[in-house]
């Protein structure tokens, strides 16, 4: 009840603060220097938040349902609510306002321009590029194949090394295993740590590691591994959290230790979904390894960025062809594998 009201208020406040800031921008049209004044901008946003919270409270009090209320309303209130036309509620206007404002601001921000898209010179350039891509230079094929093999192994090593670490970690960040105050603290710290690690893109990790161990496939592999550990540990732990409690009770009742219980009651239940997620992760890693090569992570990506830099489009075309084939193949193969493992 309190939680749902807090969520509603935060949601409505942020939404209103956003409206408020856009309105301020439109009215005062600040200069570039003023736009960079973070302190004052934060203050404007904070005022928006406070006003928003008050308006949200007022509107809901007058039973004009806001968007926050619509989303976070607890089930029991939803069941007893009367049918009210959407034109008579606040949320519909909030939603329309949000879409209109966001599209307007978005078009300005991304400098959306039809004239540039249809510009003749630019169009001719793109056509040249496509022509190059469409007539790939097959002399580069052996080199591209060698490099994509490097990429596949990079992805494989990253996944393989991540599996045991993620496997051990996942039990420490599963809520149904980490009970009690100490367990919950470990769970929270580990979850936060993994979330932060995961939210740093593999691309950034690749830049960090290319400074650390030097540019090349090793840096790319390490970057993918870190990202895979965080992602796999999270996915694994979510599977662990959905296991059937029955076998756990059954094994515990024999006087088994906690480790024995995990090994005999939980692991048999999760092993197939684990394999399925791991195969999928390898598949994702191959695609990511290509991108990581662009920042010096080795493999086919590095080759791609070299030829792209020299605008050698037929060679780029060959590389893209090889990448597309491998990604398509891995995608299909992993889909079949995961289907069979269900």
């Amino acid at each position: 009840m309190i939680a749902s009201m807090t969520k509603r208020t935060i949601f409505d406040s942020i939404l209103f603060a956003y409206f408020f800031c856009v309105a301020m921008l439109a009215i005062f049209a600040p200069s570039q220097a003023e736009m960079l004044n973070l302190g004052r901008n934060t203050l404007v946003f904070a005022i928006g938040l406070v006003l928003g919270a008050m308006i949200s409270y007022g509107l809901n009090k007058a039973s004009l349902k806001t968007l926050g209320e619509l989303i976070f309303e607890p089930a029991y209130k939803k069941a007893s609510a009367e049918e009210v036309s959407w034109t008579k509620q606040a949320w519909s206007y909030q939603l329309i306002l949000f879409l209109v404002i966001t599209f307007t601001v978005g078009s300005i921000m991304t400098k959306f321009s039809l004239t540039e898209l249809l510009d003749e010179d630019g169009f001719a350039g793109a056509a040249r590029l496509f022509k190059g891509l469409a007539s790939p230079n097959m002399d580069l094929l052996p080199r591209a194949v060698l490099n994509i093999i490097e990429t596949i192994f990079m992805a494989f090593m990253a996944t393989a090394l991540a599996i045991p670490i993620a496997f051990v970690l996942c039990f420490f960040c599963a809520k149904n295993i980490m009970k009690g105050p100490v367990g919950f603290a470990v769970y929270l710290i580990l979850r936060t740590f993994l979330n932060v690690t995961r939210s740093i893109e593999a691309l950034i990790w690749a830049i960090i590691f290319s400074v650390w161990v030097g540019i090349g496939p090793f840096a790319g592999m390490l970057a993918l591994m870190i990202h895979s550990i965080a992602s796999l540990a999270k996915q694994y732990s979510e599977i662990v959290e959905t296991v059937n409690e029955g076998p756990i009770e059954g094994i515990m009742s024999t006087g088994a230790t906690r480790l024995q219980t995990i090994w005999f009651a939980i692991v048999p239940q999760v092993v197939l979904p684990f394999i399925s997620f791991t195969v999928y992760r390898w598949d994702i890693n191959i695609r990511m390894a290509t991108i990581i090569g662009l920042v010096g992570g080795g493999g086919i990506g590095t080759l791609l960025i070299q030829y792209q830099g020299q605008a050698m489009w037929p060679e780029v075309g060959t590389i893209i062809l090889v990448i597309a084939f491998v990604v398509w193949f891995m995608d299909t193969a992993s889909a079949y594998l995961r289907e069979a493992l269900k």
Partner: protein, 256 residues
Amino acid sequence: MAENILQIKNLKKVYPNGTQALKGVSFDVKKGEFLVIIGLSGSGKSTLLRCLNRLHDPTSGEILFKGHDIAKIEGSAVRGVRKNIAMIFQHFNLIPRHTVLSNVLMGRLGFMGTVGSLFGLFKADDKQKALKYLKLVGIGEKAKMRADNLSGGQQQRVAIARALTQDPEVLLADEPVASLDPATCHVVMDYLRKVNQELGITIIANLHFLSLVREYATRVIAMKGGEIVFEGDPKEINDAWFEKIYGAGAKEVHIN
């Protein structure tokens, strides 16, 4: 007069959400008896059994197992108690993907070193014991089958065999036949009686059907709202008691 194997004194259990599942329950269990606990769903029967082998932690009160209070012990002492007080469940709680034999061997986990058990290094003696008890419950020939390929009644017999390989003194049975059909029901109950009479293992079972209670129990306890409302001979339960336990208007269902 047989000695008391378990003495429960003023046992209380309050769940974290505030539900009072047990409001001060006291009774004795004699060695070798077949004690049945009856009562509506939510009357505290399952909670009571789970407190006895410490799958749940009681809030207060005493559980004397052969004279020692086990209500507040922790860690390896709890595991020692669980080895001695085995349990079977309504939904059998087997490991579906493992073989029947492997499931029965789980009963030996408490007697093994952790590392050895994780590699599945069960002793030859343990395997002999597991097979012996599988034969005792009449499914010796199913040892190599996957547990989830067995029928409900057979799975419950695997669970009984698993409990027996622990060499327990007490066997708790939480609604052992509630998810079985009436015919299978009697097969499983007959094996429980066999365990009780031939191996001398004390049995405490939660049951729903009074006809089963009259047939198998040597003594009965009825619970309502977390308290004991009747304790005595199963034959003493008459219509008046029945109404008191299950509420007015309830009708007894017979299964044969």
